[in-house]
Amino acid sequence: MKPRVAIFDFGCCEGCQLQIVNLEEDILGLLGLVDVVTWREAMSEQSDEFDIAIVEGSITREDEVPRLQWIRDHAKILIALGACAHIGGINCIKNRFDLEEVRRYVYGAHAEAFDTAPTRPVGAVVKVDAAVPGCPINRQEFVEIVKALLLGKKPSLPTYAVCVECKRKNNVCLFDKGMVCLGPVTRAGCGAICPSFGNSCEGCRGVVPDPNLNSHGEVLAQYGLSVEDILRFFNLYGGCQDEVGCFRSALEARGGK
């Protein structure tokens, strides 16, 4: 029997599911290897029986926790899809505010009817077997990760930084153009797509393992940038990562202003 796949989503824009649709003809190949049994965005059929759960989005309400736990209990393998599920993503910005005030700002006198909780990535609530990073995900990387899992292997993500991919592409360094970039400390695998289109890496794939804080501090000092300049991007998608607090203190200690 082919492995049964179910796709679920929590607080997110559903743009990562869309990247699966965007595989176009390639999705037909993938459909030959698995049975998609639940995918609310694309099909009417639904099933409680599945082997692989693909979960997009972050947890932003307490009532989502039992639903996620139910998914975990039913799945042999759980994949966190995209930055929101992997590291919390854009929803983490909310955590920097007083949540009562946030509710009142958007819903006014009706605020009480709209529950919310601090944003958490999927892995902060249940065990995650594999993550597909990025906002949005890279379609080819998704296919590679699913293939590895189907072969019974543990998928591996690059452990080097976006900077490496960017240099391989011979892009002009954005720091030299007077811009700020998280390429030196962000996990590679996107092909340095943002710097290749002339814009900053905003760190959506999460911090690379063992980031080199010393050299990053030196880069900041060399280009006259402040810790706030860097945190501006860290806090866009990566605000829930423990590393952000460590970065602040480390950078301040090493030449950042």
Partner: protein
């Protein structure tokens, strides 16, 4: 059906979570609700304190399907707050990018999500076996639209290089010429889609409805224009509050909107078509004629048909935009802007209808206040009003049929619930 509740908890084949709830007793409609239980995400609150440079990248993440539209609307609002007008080249490229998204999204909805209803399938997957050519046409058009968006915006979803007052990278003239050839080559595919839709039997249901859209004097408005209505009148985007009133219902995390003088109103492809038919390209007018779509059409199920017409329009108008860009020649432009305090409104027609972003910036260019009006949020009240009229007309039919019709009704609006927060559950009791 005489008695019963239709509960569709999480409508499928829509973007986001929504529930339909309908109660029928003694053959009479007792209650009906369109509920949005999607987790609210508080973007209006989250952008406060952020730099004017980052607002578009943040609000792009409201919706994976309309990320290009959100990006452009945010940029427009920020530019209006700063008092800058982008160059002609920037505007032409933005319009071209927006067309890419319109085709992406319309093909996704008409082809992948709505067509299975008309072909009697629960999803597009079984159609691969039964209607392979139709599916391949849809896939090819979708792929083209994605590669179109990749080329101009760097990525199909969450564009990279569109920034305040310009671009961080430009396509080459050769790439644009190649895209033009591909848009031309895709016309037979678009007509194949028109021919498929011509065979669908669209439910016959009309309800007197107000349709609101942007209108521009020279073009079928997507990127800019005044807010107009089939009830008459026009206001500048900055004065949107004169026409649109936001309100909240407790069973929906999505804010709703009503018109200044009616209950609900509709936005989207049919609203644009009804207000701007005269400005469609000749091919799009011919497609409308082939599909039996004439303004003013008050059948909500025809929204999907209007999307197919707009696909033809975008492919034809896209070629004209490229011609104008190639005539001018592409050049790297200065995009420095003066940072100042101010308030600005952006208004863009995204695939599902009129989108409005409003931001107030302080002297340092940081956001201090934000208001976002989302197309699906504007349609929620109208969907519910349609349900109230549709159910009594079909109440004699079996429960399963009533449920399917209600699902198709909501799906026809192509609701994007992540945007408005998320949508669909039909409860019949």
């Amino acid at each position: 059906m005489k008695d019963g509740t239709i509960e569709v908890h999480y409508l499928t084949r829509v973007e986001g979570h929504g529930n339909i709830h309908v109660e029928i007793e003694g053959g009479r409609l007792q209650s009906y609700r369109w509920e949005i239980p999607e987790a609210p995400r508080f973007f209006e609150a989250m952008v406060r304190g952020q730099s004017y440079m980052d607002v578009a990248h943040i609000t792009s993440r409201i919706c994976g399907i309309c990320s290009i539209g959100h990006t452009l609307c945010a940029l427009q609002a920020v530019e209006n707050a700063l008092g800058v007008r982008p160059s002609e080249q920037t505007l032409l490229l933005r319009k071209l990018l927006l067309h890419g998204e319109t085709v992406q999204s319309h093909i996704l909805h008409a082809g992948y999500l709505a067509a299975p209803d008309f072909l009697g399938a629960p999803s597009v997957v079984p159609l691969v076996g039964t209607h392979r050519e139709v599916v391949l046409t849809v896939i090819r058009l979708h792929r083209l639209a994605n590669e179109w968006s990749d080329l101009i915006g760097g990525r199909t979803t969450h564009p990279i290089n569109a920034v305040v007052s310009g671009w961080t990278s430009l396509p080459t003239e050769e790439q644009l010429a190649d895209l033009r050839r591909r848009l031309e080559a895709a016309m037979p595919e678009a007509w194949a889609l028109v021919d498929v839709f011509k065979t669908f039997s669209i439910p016959d249901f009309t309800r007197d409805t107000e349709y609101i859209a942007l209108r521009h004097p020279e073009e079928y408005a997507f990127y800019e224009g005044d807010i107009v209505s089939t009830d008459g009148g026009a206001v500048a985007p900055a004065d949107y509050r004169q026409r649109i009133v936001e309100f909240i219902v407790p069973y929906s995390t999505a804010k709703r909107a009503r018109s200044d003088h009616r209950s609900g109103y509709a936005v989207g492809a049919l609203a644009r078509f009804n207000n701007n038919y005269d400005l469609l390209t000749p091919g799009a007018k011919k497609a409308a004629e082939t599909l039996g779509l004439r303004p003013i059409c008050c059948n909500p199920f025809m929204n999907t048909v209007a999307q197919v017409v707009e696909v033809v329009h975008a492919l034809e108008d896209g070629r004209q935009l490229i011609d104008r860009l190639l005539e001018r020649g592409l050049r790297v432009e200065d995009r420095a802007v003066p940072v100042r305090a101010g308030t600005g409104v952006g208004a863009v027609e995204v695939p599902r209808g009129l989108l409005i972003h409003e931001y107030t910036l302080d002297e340092a260019g940081k956001v201090t206040a934000a208001n976002l009006i989302i197309p699906t949020g504007q349609n929620h009240q109208n969907i519910e009003d349609d349900m109230g009229m549709l159910v009594p007309q079909i109440i004699e039919r079996p429960q399963e049929e009533v449920r399917l019709m209600l699902e198709m009704l909501v799906r026809a609006y192509d609701p994007c619930i992540s945007c408005s927060t998320h949508l669909l559950q039909v409860t019949m009791r």
